[in-house]
């Protein structure tokens, strides 16, 4: 029967899930070790430093320099605001477009066209309009983040089982009931897919804008270290950004797992091994 979990596999003398996580850590450690050896004995220190030096640089200067810490906090703030705006406006626009066939046919092609534009080409325009401060970065993150949400909300509203529609109607449900009991829960998985894609793109937008124009943000520091051939703090800074990205993504994943109604566990990319819900 479909409800019964797949039998637990044993790999390398342990449950599959543990073998998977062990392998994962082994790959990371092996890569770090290779980088350490290469950085220590072979590389030009102007370009590559060993992992130990990067970790050292993370404590000092990245974490100890107040200006860098402030720049990182600023980036997190910009991402958070851009993301929040993307979600609110993306969902609102997506629902307005998805609510009728007419609106979808009229507006969606335009949205897809805008989505396809490589926005980096428009960056100077953003700087001109929003200035050099946080507003420009937020705006650029927002225009990146909003599209996947719109597109996925529209897609989620579209794929409705006509029987569910008939069921609500025949049971005497009103339009609001259709929205609450069918359209919204049906849309949830697509919406969360949109949220995850949007998270990645919002960060991309903000960081791109940071790198392009920054008078004291993380973009300024990455350029400072790169142009002074000081790769240890540069890598430490980039690593921190990556960590922030992972953190944001985990947040969305937790929300997704918690809030997706029903036994429709979202795609897990194999991250939790053989555990099935």
């Amino acid at each position: 029967m479909s409800m019964i979990d797949a039998p637990r596999e044993i790999i390398m003398g342990m449950p599959r899930a543990r073998a998977v996580s062990l392998t994962r850590w082994a790959i990371i450690l092996a890569a770090a070790a290779a980088l350490e050896i290469y950085g220590r004995f072979f590389a030009d220190p102007a370009f590559i430093r060993p992992v130990s030096a990067i970790v050292g640089a993370w404590f000092n200067p990245v974490m100890s320099d107040e200006r860098i810490f402030w720049a990182l906090s600023m980036a997190v703030f910009e991402i958070a605001v851009a993301y929040a705006l993307s979600i609110v406006f993306g969902a609102a626009i997506g629902i307005s477009i998805g609510v009728s066939n007419f609106a979808r046919a009229s507006f969606l092609p335009i949205v897809l066209l805008l989505y396809a534009i490589p926005q980096v080409t428009l960056m100077p325009l953003f700087i001109l309009i929003f200035g050099l401060g946080a507003a420009g970065k937020i705006a650029f993150g927002f225009t990146h983040g909003i599209f996947p949400i719109i597109v996925n909300v529209v897609a989620g509203m579209r794929d409705i089982n006509p029987l569910h529609r008939s069921a609500i109607a025949s049971m005497g449900g009103a339009r609001a009931d259709l929205l609450r009991h069918v359209i919204a829960p049906n849309m949830a998985p697509a919406f969360f897919t949109g949220l995850r894609l949007s998270m990645t793109l919002t960060m991309l937008g903000v960081i791109l804008a940071e790198l392009y124009v920054s008078t004291g943000g993380i973009g300024y520091f990455t350029r400072l270290y790169a142009e002074n051939f000081n790769p240890a703090p540069l890598f430490a800074l980039i690593g921190t950004l990556a960590l922030i990205a992972v953190l944001f993504n985990s947040l969305v994943r937790v929300a997704e797992r918690r809030l997706t109604p029903g036994a429709r566990a979202p795609a897990k990319l194999g991250l939790s091994g053989a555990k099935s819900k």
Partner: protein, 288 residues
């Protein structure tokens, strides 16, 4: 319709009683009159269904069986003609107090547990919150699914899901149950077992049922009357009576008259099926 007066439903004496469902001259046309894509789906259907009667609508694909069912249920308004349920005209508006639908098993909302699916139906029915769970559990136990109330539909097999879905339709206390090919997604064996269960359950409730199916055996096994419809445009070709008391046991299927009735139905339908297929072919050819 003189047949209506002679048909005896399970537990109901039709003679002298007002019909539970009265269909008068129902015609349904999709698209404009004379338009290239316009289709006459139902042509002047009239039929009376007695309280407690089990009526099957049988016909080739595309003959408008489901359309007729949806019109009876008020899911949409016919082009002309009228349907009266319990003395009140159904005018393209659902009557959840009188009529419940059972569709295919995929109608259960996959994002709700089984019990939550029941709660919604009962809530729309106006059943007070405190009574909903009891009613739902009774209905689930009646179909042997009491242990699965907190499961999600996708965690059940197709047969189990349809059992639950049927129970949901029956537990809302309407007098009329409209079933639109409820067993279509099931394999032959599950169909037979579920059909038997349905017969047992319904014999207790005394509901009036209109059941749409493709299956000849299902029609004979379940119905008091079988309305055989023509290929498009759907008309009532003939009505076959099945005189057998409910609940029906599988033994009924082994009786010679069961096979005879099925063969008779097939003979009636064969030409219609060929016509329906030819229509389909023409439509496909015209579109290519």
């Amino acid at each position: 319709m003189s047949e209506a007066a002679t048909a005896i439903g399970a537990g109901a004496t039709a003679a002298g009683l007002a019909p539970a469902i009265s269909i008068r001259g129902v015609t349904q046309r999709f698209g404009a009159v004379g338009a290239a894509q316009g289709v006459l789906a139902l042509d002047d259907i009239s039929l009376d269904i007695a309280p407690g009667e089990f009526v099957c609508l049988l016909g080739p694909s595309g003959c408008g069986k489901s359309t007729l069912l949806n019109i009876i249920g008020g899911l949409f308004k016919p082009t002309s003609g009228e349907v009266t349920v319990a003395g009140k005209r159904v005018d393209g508006a659902p009557r959840p107090d009188e009529i419940a639908f059972v569709f295919q098993e995929s109608t259960l909302f996959p994002w709700y547990t089984i019990i939550e699916n029941f709660r919604i139906a009962l809530k729309f029915q106006g059943v007070p919150k405190s009574e909903r769970d009891d009613l739902a559990m009774d209905a689930l136990k009646a179909v042997g699914m009491g242990g699965f109330a907190r499961h999600y539909p996708t965690q059940l097999s197709v047969g189990m899901r349809q059992r639950v879905n049927m129970a949901r339709g029956i537990c809302v206390r309407t007098n009329i149950l409209l079933m639109d090919e409820p067993f279509a997604a099931l394999d032959e064996q599950s169909r037979m077992v579920l059909g038997e269960d349905l017969s047992t359950l319904l014999a207790k409730t005394g509901k009036t049922i209109v059941f749409v199916t493709h299956s000849l055996a299902e029609a004979v096994f379940l119905s008091d009357r079988i309305v055989v419809m023509t290929a498009r445009p759907g008309r009532v070709k003939t009505i076959v009576n099945v005189n057998e008391r409910h609940p029906r046991a599988p033994d009924f299927m082994l009786e010679p008259r069961f096979g005879e009735m099925r063969n008779e139905l097939f003979a009636l339908l064969r030409d219609e099926i060929r016509r329906a297929m030819a229509l389909q072919r023409d439509a496909d050819g015209g579109g290519a």
